[in-house]
C-alpha cells in the first residue's frame, strides 16, 4: 500500500458506525482502509495514545470575508484557523463583497480554497445581493459548487420571497439556512433585552425577535415540504418551536454556537464589544435550554458563526461596534467542557460537530468507515492551554475567550489523508 498512515492506539469515536474503542486507524490514498495484523515497514506511524481519533470536524457556519474584506480574514487564514481548531471542512457564508449570489463568486472562493488547510463549501445567497428582493441564480451557483443558500447576516423580511426560496431551493436540492430575526423588534438593539441591557442603558433585543421568525420558517417549511435549517439558535423560545416542529415531522434542522452554551449576557458588562454578536448572548435560562437541546436532539449541529473583524470595527462605542466573534479555534475546547460536565457524551459531541453538520449540507465526511474519505481529527482531551487571540491563525482577534484557560484541543488534522495541521 502506498503512503500508508497508521494512527496508532487512539480512542476511535465514530458514532455513524457505532464505534468507540481503542484501535488503529489506517489511511491510504486519502481513504480509510481496513487495518491488518502486520504493520508494513514503510508505513508512517503516528502515535495517538491517549487521544481521540474522530471524523474531521465540520463547521457549517463561518465567515471567511473573501472576496472584499480580506483585511478581516481570507480563505487561506480562515481555513488555517479551521484546521488548528480541528475542522477539516467549513461552509462559508455569502455576505462577502460582492455577495456570493452568482457562479463567478462561488468559483472564485473555490479557487482560493485550493491547497488550503481545510475543505471549503460555499453557501450562496438566497436573494440577489442579499437584498431580500429577488431570488439569486441557484442553479448556476449549485453548478459552481454551493451546498446551501442563505442571506445570513440579514433576515429575509418578505415571507413570500422566503416561501419562493424554499420551493426553488428544493428544486435544486439545496437546504435553506435561515438567519431568523424579526427586524422590527430588533431595530437598533445591540444586546439581549433584560436586566443587563437596562443596567448598561443599551437597546435590548427580545428573544421573541428570534422565535417569531423561527416559527415563520418552520411554518413555511411545512407548507413547502422543504428542508430548512435554523442558524445560530440562541434562546429557549426558538428551541421550543423547533422541538414541536420536529415532533410534527417538519423537515427542520438547527445549529447553535459554543458562545450560546458557554456565556450569558453578563459577558457584555463593561461594554465589552468582544461579546457583541447577533443573535445576542442571552440569559442563563436560555443557556441552560441550549445545553439541554444539544443533549436531546433538538439541535443537530454545533457551528461557530466564526465572524472575524478588525479592531477598527470593534474598538468603538458599543452600539456602533460590529457584531460577531471568532470561533474556529475555541469551539472544540468549549464543547469538550460540555462532555466533562456530563451534558453530552463523547459520541454525541462528535455527532454534533461532524456527522450532524455533514448531513445538513449533504457533504462527505462525518464518519470513519472503510472507504470513507480520510478527514480525521486527533484530539488530546486532557491538554490544558490558554487561548490567546494573538496566537490565533485567524486575522480576527475579536474573541471573548481571549486569555481563557481551556482544556482539550485538536493536535492533528488530516484532510484527504494529508496532515494539514499538527500542534
Amino acid at each position: 500500500m502506498d503512503g500508508l498512515i497508521i494512527l496508532k492506539g487512539g480512542r476511535v469515536i465514530d458514532p455513524v458506525n457505532g464505534r468507540d474503542e481503542v484501535a488503529d486507524l489506517w489511511v491510504t490514498d486519502g481513504k480509510i482502509v481496513a487495518s491488518q495484523a502486520e504493520t508494513p515497514a514503510d508505513a508512517k506511524v503516528i502515535d495517538a495514545t491517549g487521544c481521540w481519533v474522530v471524523p474531521g470536524l465540520i463547521d457549517i457556519h463561518v465567515h471567511l470575508r473573501e472576496p472584499g474584506q480580506e483585511y478581516k480574514e481570507n480563505v487561506a487564514s480562515g481555513t488555517q484557523a479551521a484546521a488548528a481548531g480541528g475542522f477539516t471542512a467549513v461552509a462559508c457564508m455569502p455576505n462577502t463583497t460582492p455577495v456570493n449570489d452568482n457562479g463567478s463568486v462561488t468559483r472564485l472562493i473555490l479557487e482560493r480554497a485550493e491547497g488550503c488547510a481545510a475543505r471549503v463549501y460555499p453557501v450562496g445567497a438566497i436573494s440577489k445581493g442579499s437584498k431580500g428582493e429577488s431570488l439569486a441564480d441557484y442553479a448556476e451557483m449549485k453548478e459552481a459548487g454551493i451546498v446551501a443558500v442563505t442571506d445570513d447576516g440579514m433576515p429575509v423580511v418578505d415571507s413570500q420571497l422566503m416561501r419562493r426560496a424554499m420551493e426553488y431551493a428544493a428544486s435544486h436540492k439545496l437546504v435553506v439556512m435561515s438567519h431568523s430575526e424579526e427586524e422590527a423588534l430588533v431595530r437598533n438593539g445591540c444586546m439581549n433585552e433584560g436586566l443587563n441591557s437596562t443596567r448598561l442603558g443599551l437597546r435590548g433585543i427580545p428573544a421573541a425577535a428570534e422565535s417569531i421568525m423561527v416559527y415563520r420558517e418552520v411554518a413555511l417549511a411545512e407548507l413547502t415540504g422543504t428542508h430548512v435549517h435554523i442558524a445560530h439558535v440562541s434562546c429557549e423560545d426558538a428551541l421550543a418551536v423547533i422541538r414541536l416542529a420536529k415532533q410534527r415531522g417538519v423537515k427542520v434542522t438547527a445549529e447553535t454556537a459554543p458562545h450560546y452554551f458557554t456565556l450569558t449576557d453578563d459577558a457584555v458588562l463593561g461594554y465589552n464589544t468582544n461579546a457583541k454578536m447577533n443573535p445576542p448572548l442571552r440569559s442563563e435560562k436560555d443557556r441552560e435550554a441550549i445545553r439541554a437541546a444539544l443533549a436531546d436532539g433538538t439541535l443537530d449541529a454545533i457551528a461557530t458563526d466564526h465572524a472575524p473583524h478588525s479592531v477598527l470595527e470593534k474598538e468603538l462605542e458599543f452600539n456602533y461596534a460590529a457584531n460577531g466573534i471568532t470561533g474556529l479555534e475555541t469551539s472544540l475546547s468549549l464543547t469538550l467542557e460540555l462532555v466533562r460536565q456530563g451534558v453530552i457524551t463523547e459520541s454525541r459531541m462528535v455527532e454534533l460537530m461532524s456527522a450532524g453538520p455533514a448531513g445538513i449540507i449533504g457533504v462527505e465526511g462525518g464518519q470513519l468507515g472503510e472507504g470513507a474519505v480520510a478527514d480525521i481529527t486527533v484530539i488530546d482531551p486532557e491538554m490544558e492551554y490558554v487561548f490567546t487571540a494573538e496566537a490565533s491563525f485567524s486575522k480576527g482577534k475579536n474573541s471573548p475567550f481571549n486569555e481563557t484557560k481551556m482544556k482539550g484541543r485538536a493536535i492533528m488534522t488530516l484532510v484527504d489523508g494529508e496532515v494539514k495541521y499538527r500542534l
Binding site: 441591557s197 437596562t198 443596567r199 448598561l200 442603558g201 461594554y271 468603538l316 452600539n319 456602533y320
Partner: protein, 318 residues
C-alpha cells in the same frame, strides 16, 4: 463613614460604581464648595493650572454651562469642544479624537455622548480623568448627585424616603443614576409611566413599578417628573403628548396624595403642561431651581475629587 475614608475614583462613570460613603463624601465636599458660589468673588485657586476639556458630542447647554462655571470658579482653564456623533462615526473614531486630545495633556475630560458606555471606552484609552456628563440612556452621575444633594438639604437623609419618579424611565440617563443613587442611600424608589417607557427587569434594580401613577405618588416624600421627548410620539411609545399629560402629568390634584412636605423635582428643561403643570413647577414645593444651584457645587466637588483632593481647601479664599 469610616474615619480613614479615601475617595478612590479617578473617573466618574456612573453611580453604579459609587458606595453610600462615596456619595456622601461628594455631597459633603459639594456643601463646602456651595459656599464659594455665595461669595461676592466666586473664585478659589484650587484647580489653578489644571486643564479641563468639555467634550460634548450632543448639545446640552445646561450641563455644559454648569460644568464650565464649576471649573472657572476653581480657576481651572476650560476648553469646549463640540462634535456631532454622526460626523465622528464616519471618519475619526471616538478613540482617535480622544487620543488627539490626550496629546494636549488635559487633566479632566468631561464627556457627553449619545452612546451608552462611551465614557468607559474613553477611560480605557486616555490618561485624563473622565467625568460622564450623560451617556446614551445609561447614566448622568452628576445630575444624580445634585438630585441627592437637593433632597438631603430638605430631608436630612434619604433613608426610608419614598421617592416617585414619573415618566420616560427607559430613555432617561437621569433616572438611571437616580435609581442607583437613591436606592444605595436607602430610599424606596417607585416608578410610574406607560409600559412603553419602562425598561426590562427594572424591578431587579430595586425599584417598584406602579401601574397607577397615584400609587407611586401616594405618601411620597419626593416626586420627580422626567422630560418627555417630542419624538417619542413618532416611535409609537405614546400616542400624543396630550394623552400623556392627562394620564401622567403632575398636577395639584395628583400631588394631594403625596406627603404635605413633598418635594417636586425635575431635571429640566420642563415641557410645561406635559410632564408637569406650570403651577406645580413654580409652586412652593418645587425645588427645581435648587437643583440647578446644587449642580454647580456638585460639579466643583467632582472636579476636585477626581484630581485627588481630600479636604476642600476653600478656606483660604480667593
Amino acid at each position: 463613614m469610616q474615619e480613614n475614608y479615601n475617595f478612590k475614583h479617578r473617573h466618574i462613570l456612573g453611580l453604579e460604581q459609587m458606595s453610600a460613603d462615596d456619595i456622601c463624601h461628594v455631597i459633603n465636599t459639594a456643601r463646602s464648595f456651595k459656599e464659594v458660589s455665595a461669595r461676592p468673588i466666586k473664585k478659589v485657586p484650587t484647580l489653578r493650572g489644571k486643564t479641563i476639556v468639555n467634550f460634548f458630542f450632543e448639545p446640552s447647554t445646561r450641563t455644559r454651562l454648569s460644568f464650565e462655571i464649576a471649573a472657572k470658579r476653581m480657576s481651572a482653564d476650560t476648553f469646549n469642544i463640540s462634535a456631532s456623533t454622526s460626523s465622528a462615526t464616519k471618519g475619526e473614531t471616538l478613540i482617535d479624537t480622544a487620543r488627539n486630545l490626550q496629546a494636549m495633556n488635559p487633566d479632566i475630560i468631561i464627556l457627553r455622548h449619545s452612546s451608552s458606555g462611551a465614557p468607559h471606552l474613553l477611560a480605557r484609552n486616555v490618561q485624563a480623568s473622565i467625568i460622564n456628563a450623560g451617556d446614551g440612556t445609561h447614566e448622568h452621575p452628576s445630575q444624580g448627585l445634585l438630585d441627592i444633594m437637593t433632597i438631603m438639604e430638605h430631608k436630612g437623609s434619604l433613608a426610608g424616603l419614598k421617592i416617585a419618579i414619573i415618566g420616560d424611565i427607559a430613555h432617561s440617563r437621569v433616572a438611571g443614576s437616580d435609581i442607583r443613587g437613591f436606592t444605595t442611600l436607602g430610599a424606596q424608589v417607585y416608578l410610574a409611566g406607560p409600559k412603553t417607557f419602562m425598561p426590562a427587569a427594572i424591578e431587579q434594580m430595586g425599584a417598584v413599578v406602579c401601574e397607577d401613577v397615584r400609587d407611586a405618588v401616594r405618601d411620597a416624600d419626593v416626586v420627580m417628573a422626567l422630560r418627555i421627548q417630542q419624538e417619542r410620539q413618532n416611535d409609537s411609545l405614546i400616542p400624543s403628548l396630550r394623552e400623556y399629560a392627562v394620564c401622567y402629568g403632575i398636577n395639584d390634584r395628583l400631588l394631594q396624595l403625596a406627603k404635605d412636605d413633598v418635594l417636586v423635582m425635575h431635571p429640566g428643561p420642563i415641557n410645561r403642561g406635559v410632564e408637569m403643570n406650570p403651577d406645580v413647577a413654580d409652586g412652593a414645593r418645587s425645588v427645581i431651581l435648587d437643583q440647578v444651584t446644587n449642580g454647580v457645587a456638585v460639579r466643583m466637588a467632582l472636579l476636585y475629587l477626581v484630581l485627588g483632593g481630600d479636604k476642600p481647601g476653600v478656606e483660604q479664599g480667593g
